[in-house]
Amino acid sequence: MKKLHRTLVHSSSNQQSESDQDIPDKKGEPLSKDIKVNFEKMQDIFANSSDAVIRRFEVGSDVKIGAFIVYIDGLVDREIVQLSLMKPLMVDINPTTVGCELNKKNALTIIKERILSISEVNEINCLQDAVNAVLSGDTVLFLDGSSTALIAGSRGWEARSIETPDTEVVVRGSREGFTETLRTNTALLRRRIKSPNLKFESMKIGRQTQTDVIVAYIKGIADEKIVEEVKRRLSRIDTDSILESGYIEEYIEDDPLSFLPTVGNSEKPDMVAAKMLEGRVAILTDGTPFVLTVPYLFVEAFQSSEDYYSRPYYASFLRTLRYIAFFISEFAPAAYIALTTFHQEMLPPALLINMAASKEGTPFPAFIEAMIMNIIYEILKEAGVRLPRPVGQAVSIVGALVVGEAAVSAGLVGAPMVIVISITAVSAFVVSSINDTTTIMRFFYMILAGSLGIFGIMIGAAGFLTHLASMRSFGVPYLSPIAPISTQDMKDVFIRAPWWAMHTRPRVIGWKNLVRQKYNLIPKPNKDDDNK
């Protein structure tokens, strides 16, 4: 194993050196004063890139100054380029508007300060920055006689508008979801937290993809150590590509071999804002609507944004229900196997008769039966998710018929098995954020149940609990606030206390700035009114 590891390391370092040769390393190479040199270099860099546009033209009416702009078609807003950049430079420019004679020396300053009617203009000196800017959708303007180029913010591409996310559907609450565009996402957060303390620290990850990643947190609430740790882990990532936040998740996880996520994700700005307000750090990645939040605790899987918007009694009821559903989806098939093959005495007599009767017609042991049904169910589920929607419906109909009816009447499996699998499947969707974990653990428990009954299940569960207890997410115990117990935080675990009762942020995460509201906010009738 060590050998394999060494070769892996070795080959990866080889790859690194090779790929370094592939990319023309022009980092730090300054721009030339000669526009021809710059032009050739740009042409060289963007050779064979059909979407790169390099447009040569001349600026000024009397003194002509050579210039060219570079942008990527499709990433820029053409209107900005044409109306705010090209038109002022080529048509509107004249000594009256400028106020003085244009020459090679002052051209850059004048153009930057007087001509370009674009809000975001920056100066750059080196080639690599120019290339990066172009690739990010900005337009770069090169002028003859100056070793500085101007970056005009012209980003504007076709993007999905803000839509209701499919993953976290709510009845009550904001329907906005994050989009693929980073700037939109930051805006969605900023709109919710109008505080200068909301910080967005930006960085680029991915050697090829150069993905923009933003670390967002609220200064004064988030623990600096966690922010620093997030930044440290992010800066460690040295890979080709970051296409989705899932990549990042796997690079920064605390327990990479675990079945369980130690990094949370959400598509909903209100959810992320709420988590940041509890002291968590969000990681926004360009190109995906899924925003990561750390630290992520086990109990978060059972919390939904809607819990906090609906009345506490029902919200608490739903919380409890989710825990029950989690246990059902985790243990139901295993418990069924254990009960029918090891501990029949526990079944009520009437049920035992019926189960025994339905068992008599089927060929497989209960364990095999459960395995078959579970695997068929997982296949159907996967097919239903991947297929286009109309076909997906067909799949579910076939699935329902085949699994539900035909399998029983054909005597392949017993009817009780179908019920168990259905309950399991439905319950699993209640706690959808750790659905993948429950699915795998379910098989694990089924194997243990099939061989040792309830002892197998429970010793496996004890092992799993040990695993949960041993995990940490960015320094925070994964099972907190249940273990180590924090009685104050239990207000938001199995129940959801009314807002006025939750004075403090979660102690394990928001300990830096614990008090989130005034005490004694419980609404009361005005006493003066009573006296009248």
């Binding site: 040792l452 004890a462 207890a469 180590p484």
Partner: protein, 365 residues
């Protein structure tokens, strides 16, 4: 430090209470010990002060050398000769772990899985416990913190479900044979709490060691209360004479639960809940054995010896007695009480005495 985790007093009490309670709830035939009659519940109540008495030497020893475990302090106090005492402590924990695993194995093979080899239960529990041990005391404590409330609640639930079968007249006559057997009974109950030696082993890892005694005393009273419930339930349901001959009496009492006509024989469900407690019980002692060994051998990390020690423990567990009759003979109050007392009270008292004479360690004032 070998272990860099810190646990709270509450967590320590969780593992402490679980370590003692699980044995009574599953394996122990408590009626096969003095006072042999309906006064056992009085012994159970009296076990709290008895526990406090037994705790004193270990507790003062631990407080005197706060940043050292019992294994380390023996060496500091006695010099090179202390190695022998340290080794005895380590042996005690290894042997206890082996006994605990064997008890669970016998429990399961007797009640639920008569045809399964005992090695399966011992081996699997040891395997998962090894995983817990590898993750350190913090993890074990967190599991205990989750398991304990559930288990304590399960006993109360059992009590509520069994109350209709319960014959309160079972406590009469009180003090039939006088008070002496009752005190002896309390003595035997308290002497089974080998985890008392865990106090000097784990005190260095407790975040506020000064407050431990309050928690311990609460823990002892919780234990007393639950012993009392368990003893009364058994006696009230089976009668004294039957209780004396039934193995695993509390389990069989649970078997008699019958809710309505449909919920019967739900003992398996309760055993399922208890397994987590047994698991904590086993892992705690396993951990102490590993920690002690590592400190005895002055290792930098205890993790590498976890599997090796595990194999020794499993083998010891199986080889220590050839069948349940021999095993029970060793575990009977006549033998086991004194065996545990030697390690739990006599050795710490000796250490404490030498420490005071040789002025080792901080004065408790």
């Amino acid at each position: 430090m070998l272990e860099d985790g810190k646990i709270s007093n509450l967590q320590f009490i969780c593992i402490f209470v679980l370590s003692r309670l699980m044995l009574t709830m599953t394996y122990l035939s408590y009626f096969k010990a003095p006072p042999f009659n309906q006064d056992l519940w009085l012994s159970a109540l009296l076990s709290a002060p008895m526990h406090i008495l037994f705790m004193l030497p270990a507790y003062f020893l631990a407080q005197r050398l706060r940043n050292m475990t019992a294994v380390q302090s023996a060496e500091v106090i006695l010099g090179p000769a202390g190695k022998l005492v340290s080794a005895l402590f380590v042996w005690f924990f290894i042997h206890r772990t082996a006994i605990i695993l064997r008890e669970f194995g016998e429990f399961f093979t007797s009640i639920l899985y008569p045809e399964t080899p005992i090695l399966v239960f011992i081996g699997l529990t040891a395997l998962f416990a090894a995983y817990a041990v590898k993750n350190g005391i913090e993890t074990i404590c967190r599991v205990a913190q989750i398991a304990l409330p559930v288990i304590l609640f399960s006993v109360l639930l059992i009590m509520a479900l069994l109350v209709k079968n319960f014959d309160l007249r079972c406590v009469l006559p009180v003090l039939e044979d006088g008070i002496a057997p009752v005190i002896y009974g309390a003595f035997v109950i308290a002497a089974r709490t080998g985890m008392i030696l865990g106090i000097p082993m784990l005190l260095p890892y407790i975040n506020i060691p000064g407050k431990l005694k309050n928690y311990l005393i609460i823990g002892f009273f919780v234990l007393s209360f639950y012993f009392c419930i368990i003893v009364l339930l058994t006696a009230g349901i089976f009668g004294i004479e039957q209780s004396k001959i039934i193995d695993f009496p509390f389990f069989y009492a649970v078997q008699l639960i019958s809710v309505g006509d449909f919920l019967e024989r739900i003992d398996v469900l309760f055993v399922a809940i208890w397994i987590s407690g047994m698991f904590v019980h086993a892992s705690t002692h396993y951990y102490l054995a590993v920690l002690g060994t590592a400190q005895l051998l002055k290792l930098k990390d205890y993790r590498p010896i976890v599997p090796a020690l595990g194999i020794i423990i499993v083998n010891l567990s199986i080889l220590q007695s050839e069948n349940i009759v021999v095993f029970n003979k060793f575990l009977s109050y006549k033998v086991y009480t004194w065996y545990v007392l030697l390690f739990m009270v006599i050795l710490p008292s000796f250490l404490l005495l030498v420490a005071v004479i040789r002025k080792k360690g901080a004065d408790s004032r």
